[in-house]
Symmetry: C2
Subunit: 302 residues, 2 copies
DNA sequence: TCCGCCGCTGCATTTTTTGCAGCGGGCTGG
DNA sequence: CCAGCCCGCTGCAAAAAATGCAGCGGCGGA
């Protein structure tokens, strides 16, 4: 879309933080880019950027304007895909920001399922914590976000919520694997591995331990869930995860998972959502509704 | 806004119905305009217009696209006024589609009141029936609509609803002027003037007559409310109107109005609304909220 | 059938955009 | 305290894009 070049350039400058840097990424000279920006500011009647020694920063007017620009650009995307829709070709791109638990099993399966129907739709999957995921929605770098136990809900519109009880994960021959459900107090006798503090599961466990007066001292801490799972098998210790990230490896028998008793640790909640007030591109909207029905089968929270 | 020229041109072509006609209104040659359109269609990959012998018409894709274009253009207006806002100058334009009843008294007073605070805001007031008013919202030729008893509510988002009992209007010396409220059956003895059928007041009366088994044969019918009022005084007959269009001339004593008994004729409802899903420009939003509080004093319907 | 209006195209001209080289200014590390 | 670096910005020439003019062929209405 040639006629949107100017505003796309401005978006690039905002992202890059300086005109010369943006010019490089856009494969044009800084002169051309600089002039386009000056021309836009002329038309607008106000500077879009503040000039600093090491680049540019959005002015107050620029903040308003960049918002508008990003809306325009993604609206244009939506319109293109709507038009592509009615000419029969289903194309598009869906960008997802999500937490680790979705990566091993759930999303690959869902995306594969969707792409079987619509092979021309491409996907971007980005690992983001809760805050970064919300930010990705705001700056339109993601269409959908799937996060565990979000705190802020500004700009975030929930499409569906799913209960995720915390599960204990261990090797099949571990003593705790004999039980159907596990009490928190059962775990104190065994060495355990925990996710690091910012994560939702750890957060839930911390609260539960404080209430129950139990202390679980982790021998391993990691910010990588896959590592924790594998280590639980390798060293025969226990770790804690949510079921949506487990289905694959428990089904192969490499490891088993047992739910923690709900009286000890309340279930966490997984949120699928999008930017509030945004109309998603067709592809993203359809994928979102596929996810919604897939999740609704689990432990939907109404 | 130079960079929006192309889409503004397309909007003009849609409005004009042919490229050459649009080129005239835009003061460019048809060549230039034609080429811009071809270029846009090239970029979009689909024709925007169908070529007919006597001009062009939107294709299916074009319908989608023109929607997007109009959104973009009015969003741009909003952004400009937001930016103007923060540099202190309050400017803008508010376009209103409304029915006749608002013209004599209510809107002039409200607009004057608003412009006393914000002299740089300009207004457009367009007389439209219910359907045309809704259409004006859809194609962004109006920001706000004030209509009586709307039928369809697609695309229309109600901001406030106000009850408007039908009033009998007549000269001060008319026999009915002695009563505080008037029964429909009281009117049969006098010659009456009615609005023509499409209007809300007429609609309410037609229904009421059918229910009550009364027949009012109008000696005068008109589609102009001002004429009906004036004629009621000139010939000493009665007519029917809603109070919001009456305050001025009844206060001067030229004519009087009496409410019809609610048992005979239910009150009509006046709607203030905007296009569903649209963020109004600042000026329009503020004027709308002024109207809302002004109307809330009357007979607000919650 | 003829006339009028339409959209569209080849070509010359004008206007706009781009790239190159270079200026002056602020921050940073030695 | 100063050299080096990166920044945004400008004059000028080249390249690219948009515009206008004249004219073609098509289609519907008189």
């Amino acid at each position: 879309m040639r006629y949107l070049a100017s505003i796309r350039y401005i978006d690039a400058v905002v992202k890059a933080g300086s005109i010369r840097a943006a010019a490089d990424t856009l494969a044009i000279t800084s002169t051309a880019l600089n002039r386009r920006i000056l021309a836009m500011e002329e038309e607008l009647g106000v500077p879009i950027f503040e000039r600093l020694a090491h680049g540019v920063r959005l002015s107050a007017a620029g903040e308003i304007y960049i918002h508008h620009i990003r809306n325009q650009l993604s609206d244009m995307e939506r319109v293109r895909s709507q038009i592509a829709d009615l000419s029969g070709v289903r194309r598009g791109h869906v960008s997802i920001a999500c937490s680790q638990a979705l990566l091993p099993y759930f999303l690959p399966e869902q995306i594969a399922l969707y792409r079987k129907e619509h092979p021309n739709v491409t996907f971007g999957v980005h690992l983001r914590d809760r805050e970064a995921a919300e930010h990705a929605l705001v700056d339109h770098s993601a269409d959908l976000a799937i996060v565990f136990e979000p705190v802020r809900l500004t700009d975030f519109m929930t499409l569906i919520r799913v209960r995720q009880p915390v599960h204990v994960v261990m090797a099949p021959d571990h003593p705790l694997a004999a039980k159907a459900t596990v009490r928190l107090s059962d775990c104190v006798d065994y060495p355990i591995a925990l996710p690091t503090t910012p994560y939702g599961v750890r957060h839930l466990l911390d609260i539960a331990m404080r209430i129950a007066g139990v202390r679980l001292d982790p021998v391993i801490q990691s910010d990588n869930f896959e590592f924790l799972r594998n280590h639980a098998v390798a060293e025969n210790i226990v770790t804690f995860q949510i079921p949506i990230g487990l289905s694959d490896e428990t089904s192969t028998g490499r490891m088993v998972s047992r739910p923690l008793d709900g009286r000890d640790v309340p279930a966490g909640i997984l949120y699928l959502g999008q930017l509030k007030g945004r109309t998603l591109p067709v592809a993203a909207a359809r994928f979102a509704s596929q996810l919604t029905s897939a999740l609704a089968g689990q432990f939907e929270v109404s």
